[in-house]
Amino acid sequence: MNIKEKCRVGVSGLAVMLIMSVVSQAASTEKLTVVNQGGAPGDAQRKAVFEPFTAKTGIGIVADTYNQELAKIRAQIETGNLIWDAASVHSLNESIGCDEGLLEPIDWSKLLPEADFKAVGGFGKCGAPYLVSPGGLVYDAERFSGNEAPKSWKDFWNIEKWPGKRGLPYQPDQVLEIALISDGVAPKDVPEVLAKPGGVDRAFAQLEKIKPHIVWWKTGDESMQLLLTKEIAMGYGWQGRVNVANRSNKRNLRIVWEAGYTSAVIYMAVMKGSPRKQEAIELIKYTLAAEPQAHYAELMGYPPANERSFALLSEENRASQPTKFLDRGMMQAGDLYIDFWRDNGDSIRQRFSTFAAR
């Protein structure tokens, strides 16, 4: 083959590649594109929701992942260049996205029985809650057992009795709330105390007390590694992570629900102006139904958002849920909470990053 021929082959190869990529893009637009957080929760959603949904309705689903970067939604809406049809959004983004016209306002109470979702705060103006992610005080039961086990966030702050490092996420939300709980605030009062003048200062002052002992982590994976390697004596951790860590490492990490915990609520919402709004609504309705919810909960360990799903859970899974301590949970939702973080989130994050770096 001489050079000319080679060039010709190369050029035609390129053309084929280009056409292929264009065609594949066109083909994929026939499907519903859904964005979620990826990773293990994304896998679980694919198995428990997307695949059975496609089998049932014939609607194909392309999953994308993002880290709740609202900018990625905003760019699509503002330019009318929609990539996604439905998005998984946490409570703060649900509220912002809805107000700023990035998500479709949908009256979910007309489509789904609202009573089933009362416990997780009900429907949003745009989104419907499909996932609850509680996080609490986690310790290694092989390390502390019986009476030695920590029982409250006060114990978490007690370095003398439980020497060792403490793991906390590198973010102010959830951390400030926990600091207030450790300072004696009842979990359900936390949003109110935090929003009052001096509330944030009080939380930071509380954090200051154990500052030298804090190890900040950035991913859920890391939060569990720190515990598994005994680098920290105890830490904050999310339920799904603890479950997976225990299962795949045959360990016995425990969450102290009675100490009080935070509970993030994640919603599914339809992107504003999606040409596949109806299909997206169908998918969300399916996501929130009792069976897929239970299936998802079995895979990830997180409690279902739909109350009727609890009946479908395995004995073992039900025992790991904080059902007995619902009154100790602080829901990261509700107007008071959302308004507070929307107004003060930026300045608190700035303050937090100077605090952590100091």
């Binding site: 900018a71 990035l102 982590w217 107004d343 990053s353």
Partner: protein, 416 residues
């Protein structure tokens, strides 16, 4: 070109004169060359220069407020700081806000003002939703009844200072400054993060550059002194990391530096340490990985300059009785300065803009400007601030280029 000149020559030279002809041919040649350059130049201008300029413009762009509050912006012209504005200003605001009822613009306006004063968003939302209608006896009383905050000059000061098409708000914020009652002032200590961010970025870039120079210089010297065959091998070894994807290298370091990682395992087994070192998510990790990524950028230019130094100079100096240290200091080192300058510029400038490596191996306290640009773009959606940080990062780089670029010249930046 020459060919066409000759072909025409036989018939046309007598009529036009040689000079005109040559000039015309030259012009044609020049136009052809220009046409060859055009696609690239247009491409870079359109898809690189313009986007960068538009991005930088966002740091002063303030279209939102004058567009959404047109009457208020005009009415506030005569307002003096420190006092509560009169009825006309309140009426203008009430009318502007009323027009935003039910539109997502109200939320956008609230978000924009909330950058300046936390809580402004809720004030706007509440006012917009509770405004009764356009007909009211006193707009001042109506607004004050909805929220007392409207009687606080702080909110009006913010509105006024933000009501122009151009704002210095983001640039000031990126310098930890703000406009208060008495003009420009420093923000409170808890909110001041950017000056220390520049400090940290410069410190990391300096540290990485110094380490690269200390490690890279002797290695380059050994390579330059080696036999050609050996030198070729050594060069290949330096080029391997150079060609390897940044991400593969960073991934490798994540595997090695984890608490359970290889480095700790080996050190523990050798008995060098008794408990695992914390090598990741801290400054040590960032330095180890960044020096690894950038070292070839130091070695290659220094090596290429060293290779060109004739050993005759050195032998001459040595034969005149100078000891090796003196030869090094007075002859060798000065000759290698261009390479060192090129290497240092490259490493320094590249490390200023680093984002991926610190994001993956660094801890919260190790993130540099690049990280915050990405953060304000994607997560905080404060595009003005992202742009202002970009302005200062480019300024830093520009200064470095001007300072060191004189020594080096752009053409030395040939290495990948």
């Amino acid at each position: 070109m020459q060919a066409s000149l000759e072909m025409m020559g036989e018939t046309e030279i007598p009529k036009m004169g040689l000079r005109t002809l040559v000039r015309r041919a030259e012009r044609r040649h020049f136009m052809t060359m220009l046409a060859l350059m055009a696609p690239s130049v247009i491409f870079v201008a359109l898809l690189f220069v313009i986007p960068i300029l538009l991005f930088l413009f966002r740091s002063v762009d303030n279209a939102e407020i004058p567009t959404l509050l047109p009457k208020t912006a005009v009415a506030l012209d005569t307002w003096r700081d420190g006092e509560i504005p009169g009825e006309p200003v309140f009426a203008a605001l009430a009318s502007d806000l009323h027009a935003l009822k039910g539109s997502p613009d109200a939320a956008l306006l609230g978000r924009r003002l909330n950058f300046a004063v936390p809580g402004y968003r809720r004030l706007i939302t509440r006012t917009v939703t509770s405004l009764p209608g356009t007909q009211m006896a006193s707009a001042k009383e109506t607004l004050a009844a909805i929220d007392k905050s409207w009687l606080d000059p702080v909110y009006w000061r913010t509105l006024k200072s933000q009501s122009g098409r151009i704002t210095d708000f983001y640039l000031l914020s990126a310098l930890d400054l703000q406009r208060g009652a008495g003009g420009i002032e420093k923000v409170s200590g808890e909110q001041a993060i950017f000056m220390s961010l520049y400090g940290r970025t410069l410190y990391t870039a300096f540290g990485v550059t110094a380490l690269c120079l200390l490690i890279g210089y002797p290695v380059a010297a050994v390579m330059a002194a080696a036999r050609p065959a050996v030198a070729n091998w050594l060069l290949s070894l330096v080029l391997i990391p150079f060609w390897t994807s940044l991400l593969v290298r960073t991934t490798a370091w994540v595997v090695l530096l984890q608490t359970e990682g290889l480095v700790n395992k080996v050190l523990l087994q050798l008995g060098v340490i008794s408990e695992p070192l914390k090598l990741m998510f801290n400054t040590a990790g960032v330095f180890i990985a960044m020096v690894h990524v950038l070292l070839p950028y130091m070695i290659l230019p220094v090596y290429s300059v060293m290779k060109g130094i004739s050993p005759v100079h050195l032998r001459a100096a040595a034969s005149l009785g100078a000891n090796p240290a003196t030869v090094f200091r007075t002859v060798y080192l000065p000759l290698t300065i261009p390479g060192v300058a090129a290497g240092c510029t490259l490493v320094f400038v590249l490390s200023l803009g680093f984002y991926v490596t610190p994001a993956l191996v660094g801890g919260p306290g190790d993130q540099m400007i690049g990280y915050f640009i990405a953060y304000f773009t994607n997560s905080a959606v404060n595009w003005g601030l992202a742009s202002a940080l970009g302005v200062f990062l480019l300024l830093l780089i520009g200064v470095i280029y001007l300072a060191l670029g004189k020594l080096v010249g752009f053409d030395k930046l040939k290495v990948r």
